[in-house]
Amino acid sequence: MAKNLSGDLQVASANRLVDGMVVWLDEAGQWTDRLQHAAVARDPRGAEILLERARAEAFTVVDPFLVAVIEDEEGTIEPLSLREKIRASGLTFEAIAADAVRYA
């Protein structure tokens, strides 16, 4: 069962400056390209702190912001909005070239 009906669960995301890739802030304050490694804030105060940390680490990324997520029993994180789902998992159709990668 998905949790976060009140939208309290947040992760911090941005695009990496050097290559534009989507990244999330992990517990260690590093930017990771794995959503499942993202640090999750569990209440509004935690979210504020997370965003502050993200901004403090913003030298290598562009414009960090918070993303509302849900977390299932196994701890798998998924974004609430379609836009963030697409940012996390890539194109929703087959791109024309075989080497256009759909990333997990």
Partner: protein, 557 residues
Amino acid sequence: MPDTHFYRYDDYDRTLVAERVEQFRDQVRRRLAGELTEEQFKPLRLHNGLYLQLHAYMLRIAIPYGTLSSRQLRKLADISRKFDRGYGHFTTRQNLQLNWIRLEDAPDALAALAEVDMHAMQTSGNCIRNVTADHYAGAAIDEIEDPRIWAEIVRQWSTLHPEFTFLPRKFKIAITGSPNDRAAVRVHDIGLRLWRNPQGEVGFEVIVGGGLGRTPMIGKTLREFLPRDELLAYLEATLRVYNRYGRRDNLYKARIKILVHEVGVEKMREEVEAEYAATRDGALRLPVGTIEAIARQFAPPDLPPRPAISGPVEAQRSSDPDFALWLKSNVAPHRVPGYAIVTASLKPAGSPPGDASATQMEGIADIAEAYSQAELRVSHEQNLILPHVAVEDLPRVYRSLAALGFAEANVGKITDIIACPGLDYCALANARSIPVAQRISTHFASLARQHDIGDLKIKISGCINACGHHHVGHIGILGVDRNGVELYQISLGGDVDFGRTALGTILGPAVTADKVVETVDAIVATYLDAREDGERFVDTYRRIGAQPFKEQVYGPL
């Protein structure tokens, strides 16, 4: 650089592009080193065509007036492989977009473009953008004068223009040299229409304040007839008035169309003409020598006489129904008898509209080299054009295009959909557009059915910025977001063809993604029931109005 039948760079052009690449290389270095903030850097990268999208940076490469050579297209394929993921998207402004560029690679990608006299200058940002023109220019049967001569003159004048690099908002110019406007001049910030006055002189009608987006407007005539050599002085006057008085308080009210709307076209004309009176006899008046030097470069290719009717073509027309349909929809008459203009459809059923892989780009570059004077065009409807094909060569061209997947006989038909990249790619989007286009085109894939339905342009935008031009679609589809759900608003009756510009009217409540195909089906069924002899979809709509369509889609009210 082999001779082309369009503008060829000289050392001045090459030097400017090279110096620009070096400037940007240094700007990227400083940004990565933290010497520039994102706020300071963003306009600099936009002015070099680099957007930050959902997944990555997108590079929008300029294809001036939609014209390129086989050699240039091969280089684009090469760049898409080397710096991107092996494919690109042709846009509604005749440009090419690569979607996965790394910022640190961008200067090298621009340097690679410069090797074939291409660039990405001013394809984004609040400056004068790529000047678009009729994609049949130089080949069209109804052409008064090749608009690309003037598009090149405007391109040079507007490139790195020191006064107009920080306008209130972007500025888009389109030019047509034919009474059948294939460049959509009435929905641009400035549209220019070449025409011949009763005295036999050729000049421009200057149209101002058209545009799509949040507040779609059809442009108004600013000047009925402007002598050609006064074009730059007049444009400079118009841009100066816009730069000084365009709104800067609200991003959504900053285009010139809002200024024209708020002060009225008479006042706008007064201001522009006053400013123009002061500039017209100055340094911007184009010397005849300059105009001629550029016009010469667009001299049409020497096309050897070829038979207007070809036995093999006629034979294949009778024996091969798909080829027969392709001749009808994808081949247009050329000003020179014995030749034709071929549209390669980049809309195979089920495919993302306007996309081409590197292999496909190379393939069509080869076809152009063999059969079309090594020249191609990009249409604002996201297809590629082979402008100078001998009628006798049509079967070979058809076969070669078919091998690439570009020979679907659907140009102008219901599956020749224009779609913006949408929420799959774009940070501005509210909804996806490509999967919607794919579903529609798969559903209507039957060629016989498409040709029975006839000319019907569906245009899909994933947000109100209208990069898919939905306002001027016969059927327009606008993706919206309501409480996290993608919904699609349908409008009917838009148009931008045959000199006619009209904005579509919303049909009724937006529908969910899974209902879009049946909605379009119902609209098509209504048309087929009601149409009278020879009427296109949009003609029937104009005759019978929205009500019958509303009833079919939403049920009797």
